[in-house]
């Protein structure tokens, strides 16, 4: 049986700056707002988090699910239209490491299958139909000539 690793995206960047400066850019409201959302709130603790606001696109709530200063911080985030961030969202996990002259940041985003699927309801009706067709096909496949 194949091993179904979760589908994820990994990207890295090397930054010519000390670890503490990079850590601050990932874990403070002003730091995040310097490169990602237009503005943010931040309650920096495991289980904390806040809201990132993207001009013209609305608010995205995020929760901190991993925090190990100054090495790892991970957020689950989702658009604020989700009533509860627990209902879905992707995970972005940032790891920091020292390199000559600076800091490497690696981000792994995963959990795309956990997002709410707006088309699922439409497919839900089809699923019943497909299942019945499948059963019919199975019966026909087994039918004698």
């Amino acid at each position: 049986m194949t091993n179904a690793d979760p589908i994820s995206i990994t990207r890295s960047v090397d930054i010519r700056a000390p670890r503490a400066a990079v850590w601050a850019a990932l874990t403070t409201a002003d730091g995040l707002a310097s490169w990602f959302p237009q503005s943010a709130t931040m309650d920096l603790r495991l289980g904390g988090g806040g809201v990132m606001t993207f001009e013209g696109h609305g608010d995205y709530a995020f929760r901190i699910v991993e925090l190990s200063e100054p090495d790892v911080v991970a957020f689950v985030w989702a658009s604020a239209s989700l009533p509860d961030i627990n209902e879905g969202g992707t995970l972005a996990r940032f790891t920091l490491s020292d390199i000559p002259g600076g800091t490497r940041v690696t981000v792994v985003e995963s959990g795309f299958e956990k997002l709410p699927d707006p088309d699922a309801a439409a497919r839900g009706n089809e699923e019943g139909w497909e299942l019945e067709l499948g059963e019919l096909r199975d019966m026909l496949e087994g039918a004698p000539e």
Binding site: M1, T2, N3, A4, P6, I7, I9, R11, S12, V13, D14, I15, R16, A17, A21, V22, A25, L26, S34, W35, F36, P37, Q38, F54, E55, H57, G58, Y60, W77, A78, S79, T90, V105, V107, E109, F112, E113, L115, P116, D117, P118, D119, A120, R123, E126, E127, E130, L131, G134, E135, R137, D138, L140, E141, G142, A143, E145
Partner: protein, 112 residues
């Protein structure tokens, strides 16, 4: 062009990732990638019941990863490569967004 892009994921990607988050469906897709097969053919090759195979094939068809066609008296299932290619492209686009964000992070921290 601003590097500030909000997180947004196309629903097709969500559906395909959901379909592929199941080990049995991966196994079915891998089998169909090797060759077309009927539901009973799959049940012979995989330690899964015919009923489970049918349910998984339904999910794979709904998400456009598999299609079926009649060959004589048999229904054969085929993996649709284009769907996985589309998924790979969507993932590449999200990866490119991260490249832009990380470049903005680099500028912000180095320039500060």
């Amino acid at each position: 062009m601003s590097a500030r892009t909000e997180p947004s994921v196309p629903s097709e990607l969500v559906a395909v990732c959901g379909a592929l988050s199941d080990e049995t469906r991966w196994a079915i897709l891998a089998e169909l990638g090797r060759s077309d097969a009927s539901a009973s053919g799959l049940a012979q090759r995989l330690p899964v019941s015919r009923q489970a195979i049918a349910k998984h094939l339904a999910v794979l068809q709904q998400t456009g990863l598999v299609e079926s066609r009649r060959v004589g008296r048999e229904v054969r299932y085929r993996a649709i490569g284009a769907t996985l290619s589309g998924t790979a492209r969507a993932l590449d686009r999200i990866g490119a967004e991260w490249d832009r964000r990380l470049a903005a992070l680099k500028r912000a921290v180095e320039g500060g």
